[in-house]
């Protein structure tokens, strides 16, 4: 298994990579409206690995989306790398995300009509990087898929698809990586190799990692575990 990364959160002078202050969020309309996040305050230090755990419906994924600027809170503030997300419009938010935040999904969400190489090059191309394909090729080699560059997602196994997704998330060198149940759709052995990869890359690049998981083994690899229940932080436990 992976060695634990040094925890920069121990340096009290360093500003947090992600800071949430009193975040409230409800989803749905009318009678179907559900109060999901109820005044969450949380700080994630730069380089820290945080595991969000809790029962289904406790608000883990929604909290992750809010951190990544994919949901706008009804109340409260979110600062990512010192930037207040409330001050960014949709397009600025998309560009910010493209540069600073890498996302790994449970269902991979690769673009089916693009090859592995093109999927990984995509965020670089969107950010107008001049050497997008060369960098993408290096990233794929780094996740062990240097020989599968021109395969389409449908021609890859689940584990390979998740590797491509991780390579894509890491390609723009984001400061923050968020992952939503990254091993949720994989068998145990494949899941373990993906976890190794994810934590290895995090350590190598000094990125901040926030992941949602039901897997207690995976949670234990994190520097800290935040347990949610009914939209509130129930407990934060340092590993």
């Amino acid at each position: 298994m992976t060695d634990k990364a040094p925890n920069p959160a121990t340096d009290p002078a360093a500003p947090p990579a992600i800071a949430l202050h009193g975040v409230e969020l409800s989803l749905g309309r009318g009678a179907a409206r559900v109060h999901i996040l109820k005044g969450i305050s949380l700080a994630v230090a730069a380089g820290e690995a945080v595991g969000l755990v809790g029962p289904s419906g406790s608000g883990k994924s929604t909290l992750l989306m809010t951190m990544a600027g994919l949901e706008r809170p009804d109340a409260g503030r979110i600062l990512v790398e010192g930037t207040d997300l409330a001050g960014l419009d949709e397009d600025a938010l998309a560009r910010f995300r493209g540069r600073r935040i890498g996302i790994v999904f449970q269902s991979f969400h690769l673009v089916p009509t693009m090859t592995a190489l093109e999927n990984v090059a995509l965020p670089l191309e969107l950010a107008d990087a001049p050497d997008a394909h060369a960098r993408a090729e290096r990233e794929l080699a780094a996740v062990g898929l240097g020989h599968r560059l021109h395969h389409y997602p449908a021609q890859l196994s689940g584990g390979e698809q998740q590797r491509v997704a991780i390579a894509r998330a890491i390609a723009p060198d984001p400061a923050i990586l968020v992952a939503d149940e990254p091993t949720g759709n994989l068998d145990e052995a494949t899941g373990a190799s993906i976890v190794d990869l994810l934590f290895g890359l995090k350590r190598e690049r000094g990125a901040t990692l926030v992941l949602v998981t039901h897997d207690s083994g995976l949670a234990r690899l994190c520097d800290r575990t935040v347990r949610l229940r009914s939209g509130r932080v129930e407990a934060a436990v340092a590993a």
């Binding site: 994924s61 929604t62 992750l64 989306m65 990544a68 994919l70 949901e71 949709e90 397009d91 998309a94 560009r95 910010f96 995300r97 493209g98 540069r99 996302i103 999904f105 269902s107 969400h109 690769l110 673009v111 089916p112 009509t113 693009m114 090859t115 190489l117 093109e118 090059a121 995509l122 965020p123 191309e125 969107l126 950010a127 107008d128 050497d131 997008a132 394909h133 060369a134 599968r148 021109h150 395969h151 389409y152 997602p153 449908a154 021609q155 894509r168 723009p172 939503d180």
Partner: protein
């Protein structure tokens, strides 16, 4: 979904790292590798609409080019001079001969008698020894003109239309008599080079020599013959052509001849081509508009399907506008393919027609690639695709990335952002502007645009009304009707797209069938009991009394009417030359060519004076004219104005004494202009007579009288009214058939859209069917629910289609065609029922397949 992707080892276009293409285009090309799944209806709709518009434009251009290129051949020279009743005077002939080589052709109606085989009316064309000066005369057997027309032992030669052989039961080599001339029908006529300019008539063509015509004795003063002098200029430049025409008008103003040049060999035909082109372009545009609904449906489904990719792109940093630009590029690339297919088919059409029919075509077709017209068709296609795609595509801007974290995503019900609505407005404005700019008649185009807009708006209103009603109705207790009701209004229901496509289809079908039945009824009804059975033309004045006696003996109880008849051309109104008068479309024909005119002491039957007063016998001694009231209004004429008419080479300027309302449909003898007896005192003329049999149409009696008249009065031409009407209704039916054929393009488009909409709904059907079958529903019960749903949709749409179609048909029949509107409930309802049956059939056919599926494999993937 991925089966069609290329092999992993071969990087596809757009994949090269150093590609210089803009990012949006690069990504769009990559996305297109997924194939065109879901775009079949989109492609078909765009291709069909563009093909229709491009095809019509290409054929029209090929015809116009053909007319221009073949103008000289069609006209038989560079300039032609047409005279009625008479040959050119020595002075006129001298003018023509001074300017170039002259060939004369004469036209007249005559009876060709074949002894016991009976007699038939023919359109006789008599030509000189140098005919045809241009182009080829094709006969079967092939004979040189000299052999064909040569006089042998006092017998002349001719070629006749195959219809004459059939009508008289003759074969090449048999003989007929025309007037006093004996003529051998030596060949069957396949093609005459100058057919278009020669005009068409009620009878088959008999092509013979001028000598034969002279020998026939039909060239009597006042008889209805037309002489056309074709002039071939030594210097055939356009400027010279114009100069000769101008000189002819200036030096011989009294000639009253109709002058045409090869530059506009057949202005009437050219105008018909223009008018028909506009009509067919509008039909093509209607097909595109209907197809637009298919485009919108396909794009909506496409955006739904692409939601994960859209969200993924946004999660990777693509702003909403860039995502829309990417998918818009992709949609427009696919539209480009549809447009290319449409253009290829449309551009190939004239070549195809030429290859298939070649010389058998009655019109000059010069297959041409028309880049300008094709560009317009492409622009129509692109604007339609943009207008109908931008709304659904604009929604991609706001697809939430958070959807990637949840299993199901709420479909976004928000309106597209204002920027996309602005693009939509611009595309629509572009379509309207294009339709107006390229229209031959802007008014018609505008009416079409307003009607199309109204139809779309109303059909949307019907769909929303139906959905609102279904939402408010109490929930039935039984499952099948409850499911049917829910399917009508649930989010993503098929109701709007089916109502729109089926509604346009039903409306079109009902409109066409009501126009059809109105035309048919009008043709049938316009033969009232009092309508004459036979018309007799060219009764020499000296034989008039003898002819009356002959008719009296042949049909003792018949009613005989006889009036003098001449032909004349209006050359000026209130001193303004006819060529400079811009008349309303409905009245222009009066100034175009020659008209039958008469004189009378008393007000003719079937007329009543609406303004001014009929002349007394004393007033009638002076030149006066009575004019058709409706045409006078359209031409801006009133009592006291003057009309200048050229009759027998003399210009007569006559004041209008009164205006009449004429009941044309009685088919009695009537004329636009009736002159006072004093106007034409002493002028040579022939008479026109009608015979009305008391017992109505009677084929045997009519045939007998016709035969006897041909024998006793060989110079008199007899026309069975039934034959003439049949010829007209045949023409109208052919036109109606052409219109139906053209409109079927729009119908096919609506069928595509309907099938596409139904296919799109099958996924939801599949889900319902599988879940309900799992819960114990039988196929019969499910089918019952779908039948109810489609039935309700069909019924609501049919009711709307019946009303809208009837209104449209009424406007076209009563206001545009100006004939009596007949509401034939039977055929209208039949059209509506047929359309609804197709809808239900298509819907159920697709559903039945779904109902047969085993639930398990689907449950695993749902």
């Amino acid at each position: 979904m991925h089966g069609s992707l290329p092999s992993p080892v071969a990087p596809a276009p757009g994949a090269t790292p150093r590609s210089r293409l803009p990012l949006v285009l690069r990504l769009a090309l990559r996305e297109l590798r997924g194939g065109l799944r879901g775009f079949a209806v989109f492609l078909a709709c765009i291709a069909l609409g563009v093909a229709a518009i491009a095809g019509v434009a290409s054929i029209s251009r090929s015809l116009t080019d053909g007319l221009a290129r073949e103008g000289r051949r069609i006209l038989g020279g560079d300039v032609s001079f047409g005279l009625i009743h008479r040959e050119a005077s020595p002075q006129e002939r001298a003018f023509l001969e001074a300017n170039g080589r002259v060939s004369a052709v004469a036209f007249t109606r005559a009876m060709a008698s074949a002894g016991d085989n009976g007699a038939a009316l023919v359109e006789l064309k008599a030509v000189g020894p140098d005919y045809p000066a241009l182009g080829d005369l094709v006969t079967e057997p092939a004979l040189a003109p000299a052999d064909l027309f040569a006089e042998r032992d006092g017998v002349f030669g001719a070629a006749a239309d195959p219809a004459l052989f059939a009508r008289l039961g003759l074969k090449p080599g048999d003989r007929v008599t025309v007037g006093d001339a004996r003529i051998d029908l030596r060949a069957s006529l396949t093609a005459e080079p100058d057919k278009l300019a020669s005009g068409v008539g009620f009878g088959p063509r008999l092509l013979t020599s001028e000598a034969a015509l002279r020998a026939s004795g039909l060239l009597q003063p006042g008889s209805l013959n037309r002489w056309v002098y074709r002039l071939a200029l030594p210097d055939a430049s356009d400027a010279r052509v114009e100069a000769v025409m101008e000189e002819a008008r200036r030096t011989l103003p009294e000639a009253g001849w109709e002058i045409r040049s090869r530059l506009a060999a057949d202005p009437r035909f050219a105008r018909s081509v223009e008018r028909f082109t506009q009509f067919l372009t509008l039909v093509g545009l209607a097909a595109l508009m209907v197809g637009g609904v298919g485009v919108a449906n396909a794009v909506r489904a496409f955006v739904e399907r692409k939601r994960p990719s859209i969200a993924t792109l946004k999660s990777l940093g693509a702003p909403g506008g860039q995502v829309v630009a990417l998918y818009l590029t992709q949609v427009m690339l696919i539209a480009g393919l549809g447009i290319a297919i449409g253009l290829a088919v449309g551009a190939a059409l004239p070549f195809l027609v030429e290859a298939l029919f070649g010389t058998a075509l009655p019109v000059p077709l010069n297959p041409t690639l028309a880049p300008g017209e094709l560009a317009v068709a492409a622009l129509y296609g692109a604007l339609t695709a943009l207008a109908f795609a931008i709304g659904p595509l604009g929604r991609a801007h706001d697809v939430a990335v958070s959807g990637l974290f949840r299993d199901a995503v709420d479909p976004d019900r928000r309106r597209p952002r204002p920027a996309y609505l602005a693009v939509l407005a611009l595309a629509l404005a572009g379509l309207v502007a294009l339709a107006l700019v390229s229209a031959f008649d802007r008014k018609v185009a505008l009416v079409f645009i307003v009607a199309a807009g109204l139809a779309f708006g109303l059909l949307r209103a019907v769909a929303f009304g139906l959905m609102a009603l279904a939402r408010r109705l109490p929930r039935p207790r039984r499952a099948a009707p409850r499911l049917a009701l829910a399917n009508l209004h649930r989010p993503g229901a098929l109701t709007p797209s089916i109502v729109l496509s089926l509604g346009l289809g039903v409306t079109l079908l009902v409109t066409l069938s009501l126009i059809d039945s109105s035309i048919t009824r009008t043709l049938e009804r316009s033969l009232p009991a009092r309508a004459p059975n036979l018309f007799f033309l060219d009764i020499p004045s000296r034989d008039a009394d003898a002819f009356d006696r002959f008719l009296g003996a042949a049909a003792p109880r018949g009613k005989i009417e006889r009036v003098p008849m001449m032909r004349g051309r209006i050359t000026a109104l209130n001193g303004v030359p006819a060529s400079r008068i811009k008349a309303a479309e409905e009245a222009a024909w009066v100034l175009d060519g020659d008209r039958g005119i008469t004189y009378a002491e008393d007000l003719p039957d079937g007329s009543r004076v609406t303004d001014g007063a009929w002349w007394t016998p004393e007033q009638g001694q002076k030149p006066l004219v009575s004019f058709d009231g409706e045409l006078a209004r359209l031409l801006g004429l009133k009592v006291g104005d003057t009309v200048t008419v050229n009759v027998l080479g003399r210009n007569l300027t006559v004041p209008i004494a009164n205006l009449r309302h004429v009941e044309w449909r009685s088919l009695g003898i009537n004329f636009v202009m009736v002159f006072s007896p004093g106007t034409f005192r002493g002028a040579p003329h022939a008479d026109l007579a009608t015979l009305t049999l008391p017992e109505g149409p009677d084929a045997a009696t009519e045939a007998r009288i016709l035969r006897e008249a041909a024998k006793t009065f060989p110079s008199v031409s007899s026309v069975r009214v039934r034959d003439a009407l049949d010829a007209v209704s045949d023409l109208v039916r052919k036109l109606a058939f052409a219109i139906r054929g053209a409109s079927s393009v729009a119908l096919v488009a609506s069928l595509f859209v309907l099938a596409g909409a139904l296919a799109a709904g099958h996924r939801a059907r599949l889900y319902d069917a599988v879940v309900l079958k799992t819960l114990g529903a039988t196929r019969r019960r499910l089918l019952g629910a779908y039948l109810l749903e489609y039935g309700a949709l069909g019924l609501a749409t049919a009711v709307f289609g019946l009303m809208a179609g009837s209104l449209a048909a009424w406007v076209i029949v009563a206001r545009v065609m100006k004939i009596g509107f007949v509401f034939d409930a039977g055929s209208a309802v039949l059209a509506a029922v047929l359309a609804v049956a197709v809808a239900i059939g298509l819907g159920l056919a697709g559903t039945w397949r779904i109902l047969g599926q085993k639930p398990a494999p689907y449950l695993r993937n749902l």
